[in-house]
């Protein structure tokens, strides 16, 4: 496991849709470095043949019957929306100009 660079943090921030400032980049890179260093100890642990745990209390075959339930009334759906039009959620253009 290697330390994390400023560029890597910037790349991750883009992936996660976070517009971080330069100051934040510096601070985060340093802080994450310390955290990741501490995780190096995990590399020491022998996990050969060990199955990963995704569920603390494993449940199996949890299903729902194919029966309709009431949906939310539309005004409740749209009420929280920052920008709605014609019963839909309005978003700014999806593609960048240069795409």
């Amino acid at each position: 496991m290697s330390t994390i660079s400023r560029e890597e943090v910037a790349h991750l921030a883009r992936l996660a849709r976070l517009e971080v400032t330069d100051d934040e980049l510096d601070a985060f890179a340093g802080q994450l470095d310390v955290i990741l260093e501490s995780m190096k100890t995990l590399g020491e642990v022998d996990t050969e043949g060990v199955e990963p745990t995704s569920h603390a209390v494993p449940l199996v075959n949890v299903f729902r019957e194919d029966r309709p339930q009431p949906s939310l009334p539309r005004d409740a759906v749209l009420a929280g929306g920052p920008d709605t039009a014609e019963g839909r959620f309005r978003v700014p253009r999806i593609l960048d100009e240069e795409a």
């Binding site: 992936l15 849709r17 995704s54 569920h55 494993p58 449940l59 199996v60 075959n61 949890v62 299903f63 729902r64 019957e65 194919d66 029966r67 309709p68 339930q69 009431p70 949906s71 939310l72 539309r74 759906v77 749209l78 929280g80 039009a85 014609e86 019963g87 839909r88 959620f89 309005r90 978003v91 700014p92 253009r93 999806i94 593609l95 795409a99």
Partner: protein, 495 residues
Amino acid sequence: MTKLNTYEAAVAAYEPVLGLETHIELDTNTKMFCGCATAFGAEPNTQVCPVCLALPGALPVANKAAVEATIKIGLALNCRIAEWTRFARKNYFYPDMPKNFQTSQYEEPLCEDGFVEVVVDGESHRIEIERVHLEEDTGKTLHVGGAAGRIHGATESLVDYNRAGIPLVEIVTRPIPGTGALAPEVARAYATELRDIVRSLGVSDVRMEQGSMRCDVNVSLNKPGEEWGTRTETKNVNSLRSVERSVRYEVRRQSALLDAGEKILQETRHFHEATGETSPGRSKEEATDYRYFPEPDLAVMEPSREWVEELRASLPEPPRKRRERLQAEWGLGDKEMQSVVNADAVGLIESTIAAGASASGAVKWWLGELSRRANESGVELGSLAIAPAQVAELQGMVEDGRLNDKLARQVIDGVLAGEGGPAEVAAARGLEVVSDTGALETAVDEAIAANPDVAEKIRGGKHAAAGALIGAVMKATKGQADAGTVRQIILDKLS
């Protein structure tokens, strides 16, 4: 202007390798992870709830009927059904995907390692199915301000989440080499067979034009003996014809590039129905790291072997067996049946026969005149504006002698134009065969009088010459005479 080779030149120099990824929208009553209704055509955002809207705090619960449908599809495709399988999160940002991750399957899909056999030009091709898995559909985005509602140039978009969360089954083939020049037909045959299989299971409408079946077509080219080339993925393929056309276009386009020494870009392309061409789509997707991890909000699935066998026993007659049965019932040869299949006319013919036509009559019309018209207009046979029952009626009228083939074709004109059923159109346009022998005799007399030399030859025993007189009578009756009857009258009069 994109440079294209001819198809013949392309396949002479290169071998195509295909891959098809198909998404099937299931017709369950409710969505994959919530109880919202799935009916098509509802007002925007009236079939959403905290779960499919991805409100803070919402959690998914898996729809058992969707899992069952997926297993049935897997079984019908000869897959192995996993004993242990789970959902995974596929993380990326897009406004039609409310959670900004799609709940899908990754390393442990429900079904794996199946196959489908298709026959093209007498050759059987076995198409390996890598996996069949279950996931959820996205919402629908309307793009505003761009050309023809497309995303390029749009200034804003409007999102409707009614479709978000509807169960989607993804079927992925292994790469398909060895199809050679028949690649487009094989691709289409596979998509058709897949559609027929899923339709027979009753788990989806599988209508490509409506989006309940979507095909992404992958094509790469390589010189014989060399490694497989870079593949492109073409989306927006909305009909079986388009599956074929998109393969054909990509083969022509890629071969021209390769001939010029250029590289093929690994990209997603968009198919254009009107022109049959592909153009580059959104280029961002390839670089995306989806950061898959097992979905912690859903339980692992362990389909019991008893359940799987129950479902296997409930499968209907596979389309292949059905076709074999119908071929025997209809008394068709292999080539002829294959033509029926290629024309996507099996169901149409079956319905036409059910409406009373003979097998040969039904086949004649659907494979003949109607296929010709469908090809000319560039539409699928099934979208012609004539119903199987009407074709049966038409054939009945021909067999009764009320119409001959030529008149029948004119009746078809009228039916396709929306003027009504065959009988109505024949009546309205005055197209029935003249059965009034008196009128026919009069017409024959006139023709004899106008062509004394021909009449003389016939009297002399040259009955073949009657053809000219028949022609004259047909012209005079605007084709509404039965040629056989006219011939008989001529011979009676002149012998």
